[in-house]
């Protein structure tokens, strides 16, 4: 069993990647981005933007070595002016993305934003960072950019003199930390109406997310955003990680109901039963086919593996680049109860030896599929569209589809449009 502690050189398999900071920042409606850094740093984001169809919202200010030495705060304003000249419609928000070296230079971002706001009234400026150099700090970039999405509302409110206590709450619940909204089939929709950042086309409508009565944090990505929104908008939050264990799901619904002040937990028995039926059918279909779970599919790969083992699936390996705290108990459970299950780090330097091939397997996640060369690949990424009993049904559907219609992995990776 491989040690999953971080360290050593990192291997970047072609299947590695994420939505990317630029793509996440552009979730803010009516925003554009100005990327400020050495040209090299913007290449993956720009090519990803072209492929995914949003390059017309990202602009680049390349820094030379002399700019880096002399500081670049004072050249950003002219770049913004030039960007605005090219746009048919002025954006409501400009998200400025800075790179790793900015953390070493000490740019005064508050002063920069103030100067820009004075020069370009009516536009909200947000300083954000694509800085993997801070991955192991309290502000990892993927969490920080999620926070910054909602900070644009706080800045807008500040500009308009709206105080947190002035915000009138509504009946909605925000979903944080998920790249995509939950499907309508998810029973969570029946507890409360849900809001997700992608549900808005105008910035002014988007500010309504500050009026929600509760934030549900589905993945670790939403953690900083939730804390920030609690401070800025007085919205309480609850962490309810995506789980595939019916008991954990039941506990999550109890916690959500309590947080919403409901007297009783809604009856989701039919949903639970539907999930059980889906599990039974899928289990019968795939039989003892070896299954590999990886952290590109879910933020809690050990949790998913534990659930699948409980359902009777033949999970033989869990792949993870790191173990997040909320997944540690699951890992320990597997270690104690299923010592035959292998743990594997797909980003370790040993990974390049490719000595863990297992073609006759079904991988849940593209990282595992690449490392094992699995014949069957369940199309699942970053817990997208997963929650509750509906999430179990969805997972079973994806396993079934993978088994019945094997996908080409290279094409699948390309479709995801990931960047590192």
């Amino acid at each position: 069993m491989q040690c999953l502690c971080k360290g050593g050189l990192h291997y970047d398999a072609p299947s590695k990647g994420d939505y990317g900071i630029c793509r996440m920042g552009l979730m803010v409606p009516e925003s554009v981005e100005l990327f400020v850094g050495p040209s090299a740093c913007g290449r993956h984001g720009a090519l990803g933007a072209i492929k995914n169809g949003y390059k017309d919202r990202i602009f680049y200010l390349y820094l030379s070595q002399s700019d880096i030495v002399s500081g670049y705060d004072d050249i950003i304003g002219d770049a913004v002016a030039e960007v605005l000249d090219t746009l048919e419609k002025a954006p409501k928000v400009i998200v400025m993305i800075f790179t790793c070296l900015d953390d070493l230079i000490g740019t005064d971002h508050e002063a920069l934003k103030e100067a820009l706001s004075d020069r370009f009234p009516g536009i909200v400026f947000q300083s954000s960072h694509m800085n993997p150099i801070k991955t192991d700090t309290s502000e990892p970039p993927a969490q920080a950019i999620q926070r910054d999405i909602y900070r644009t509302i706080a800045t807008d409110f500040k500009n308009r003199g709206i105080r947190p206590e002035d915000i009138k709450k509504d009946a909605f619940v925000n979903i944080l930390g998920a790249y995509e909204p939950l499907p309508e089939s998810c029973e969570l929709n029946r507890i409360a109406p849900l809001k997700h950042v992608t549900g808005y086309s105008s910035f002014s409508d988007f500010t309504a997310m500050a009026s929600s009565r509760l934030n549900l944090v589905l993945t670790p990505l939403g953690r900083l955003a939730a804390k920030d929104m609690e401070k800025n908008f007085h919205i309480p939050y609850l962490e309810v990680p995506v789980s595939f264990d019916p008991e954990e799901i039941s506990e999550s619904y109890k916690a959500i109901s309590q947080a919403l002040g409901m007297d009783t937990v809604p009856d989701f028995e039919a949903d639970r039963r539907a999930a059980e039926i889906a599990v039974e059918r899928t289990r019968a279909l795939v039989g003892d086919l070896p299954i590999i779970v990886d952290s590109s599919a879910t933020y809690h790969p050990f949790g998913m593996a534990q659930a699948l083992l409980g359902f009777g699936f033949n999970v033989i390996r869990v792949e993870a680049e790191a173990v997040i705290k909320s997944d540690e108990d699951h890992m320990e459970w597997i270690r104690a109860n299923h010592p035959e299950v292998e743990f594997y780090r797909p980003d370790s330097c040993e990974a390049v030896l490719f000595d863990h091939r297992l073609t006759e397997s079904l991988s849940i996640g593209i990282q595992a599929a690449y490392m094992a060369k699995s014949r069957y690949i369940a199309d699942m990424f970053a817990d997208l569209q997963m929650f509750g009993y509906d999430g179990i049904v969805s997972l079973m559907r994806r396993i079934t589809e993978a088994y019945q219609n094997p996908r080409d992995l290279k094409q699948l990776i390309n479709e995801y449009g990931l960047v590192i």
Partner: protein, 444 residues
């Protein structure tokens, strides 16, 4: 000075060029960065990455290590990886943060070599230069480390002809061949086949199918071929260091292949370096380039070259050549310019590292997107040859003739499916089959 880029992506950076040069070798290549730089290279600049077993890694540079100057972590991680992977050597490749904190990668490589006994090189790329500069830095570091002149028996010039008479073989290297300029390996294979049939024997083509043994023998070549700007920089360095002459430029069209081989032989035997694109070629068959050339017929009179000089003065067809702009690697562009010389009045647009040592009658140093756009939209140019992404800088209803030549260093894998080999015989096919302008409605 900073530059604003509104439409185009950044072009391949220097560390990607270095990575491409190292890719084939059994090296422990470590990009010293936080993650994104390695991701740039492996994910967007290296078409060979998928399914490869190349040992390229990210150092995982973190804030605290950068601030505290903690080089020990990198050294420890490299030493641990050496034990696991048993590489022939170690290459440390730089990125923006090591540049900002003034890290001495060459010194660190020296320390690693001293402690492990495994050869190590440091390549001080910064992420602020282009891939051609990085590919050359890597090639130079490799040659200095593994092919020092004192271990190379340079053929004395007086005996080259005799040697050739006896063996019938001249040895050569192909320099500057990486997927960032030549995505399709057929290009280099084709060139190699043609030259091998003409009595040449390849020693190495660093960057695209070579190993350390071949690298060690590179100094024994009679002649070098530079097929890109990175290759030209390497060829000049090898001429100075090993006394090996070079032929710079590439053959385009079947008809030029024999001439290319002849010129290479002359260079090898005379030991006088030459630019292939400055040679006199026989006229290229008009039928193959008909679509991209032509004398001014009246309808194009606004864009014919006489307008530039004012020498024509005719109101109807003047018969002068039309103006064209070629954007891309400067050596490949100059070769294209020469190919079309009887049909088009070509200006080369240099978008990567400018080089005054490349003799050219008409070069625009296009330093930023604004200058690229201005050149593309210049009404004098009625023909454009460039990566399809550049067409996005033209007005949607433009009337220019656009020959798309996808280049990985510009558009990565976006036009991967459309990338065709273009050297030698393939160029005839490319012109014959080109859809002219078919990339406007690109959908992934």
């Amino acid at each position: 000075m900073a530059q604003l880029c509104l439409y185009l992506p950044p072009f391949s950076p220097d560390y990607s060029g270095a990575g491409a040069m190292l890719f084939d070798l059994n090296a422990l290549t470590v990009m010293h960065d936080a993650g994104g730089c390695t991701g740039n290279y492996t994910g967007h600049d290296e078409p060979r990455w998928y399914d490869s077993k190349a040992t390229v890694f990210c150092s995982g540079l973190r804030m605290i290590d950068a601030i505290m100057g903690n080089d020990q972590k990198l050294k420890d991680n490299v030493c641990a990886a050496i034990k696991t992977l048993n590489p022939e050597f170690v290459a440390l490749v730089g990125s923006p943060v090591p540049m900002v904190i003034g890290m001495d990668l060459k010194g660190l490589a020296h320390e690693i070599e001293s402690e492990t006994g495994i050869p190590a090189i440091g390549i001080e790329t910064t992420g602020t230069d282009y891939y051609d500069a990085g590919a050359f830095k890597a090639a130079k570091a490799l040659l200095d480390k593994f092919c020092p002149p004192e271990t190379t028996i340079t053929p004395p010039s007086a005996t080259d002809a005799d040697t050739y008479e006896l063996s019938g073989t001249l040895h050569y290297n192909i320099l500057g061949a990486t997927p960032l300029d030549y995505e399709r390996t057929e290009d280099l294979d084709h060139l190699q086949d043609v030259l091998n049939r003409s009595g040449f024997s390849l020693i190495a083509r660093p960057g695209y199918g070579y190993d350390l043994r071949q690298l060690r023998n590179m100094g024994q070549a009679n002649v070098n071929i530079a097929v890109s700007h990175a290759g030209f920089l390497t060829a000049k360095y090898m001429e100075k260091k090993y006394g090996i002459p070079y032929l710079c430029g590439v053959p385009l069209g079947e008809k030029n292949l024999d001439l290319y081989a002849e010129r290479l032989k002359e260079v090898a035997l005379s030991r006088e370096s030459e630019m292939f694109f400055s040679e006199s070629f026989p006229d290229t068959p008009a039928s193959t380039i008909k679509a991209y050339s032509g004398k001014c017929t009246g309808s194009h009179k606004e864009t014919c070259s006489c307008r530039k000089t004012g020498s024509c003065g005719k109101t109807d067809s003047c018969g002068d050549k039309m103006n064209a702009l070629i954007i891309g690697d400067q050596i490949i562009s100059e070769s294209l310019k020469h190919y079309f010389r009887d049909h088009l009045e070509v200006t080369v647009g240099c978008i990567f590292t400018p080089d005054r040592d490349i003799p050219s009658s008409s070069v625009l140093n296009l330093k930023n997107e604004k200058e690229i756009k201005k050149a593309l939209c210049d009404e004098r140019y009625s023909v454009i040859i460039a990566d399809p992404l550049f067409e996005k800088l033209l007005p949607k209803n433009h009337k220019k003739l656009f020959l798309p030549l996808p280049q990985y260093a510009v558009s990565g894998d976006i036009y991967h499916k459309d990338a065709k080999p273009f050297l030698g015989k393939y160029f005839d096919d490319l012109l014959r089959n080109s859809p002219h302008t078919s990339y406007k409605s690109y959908k992934p």
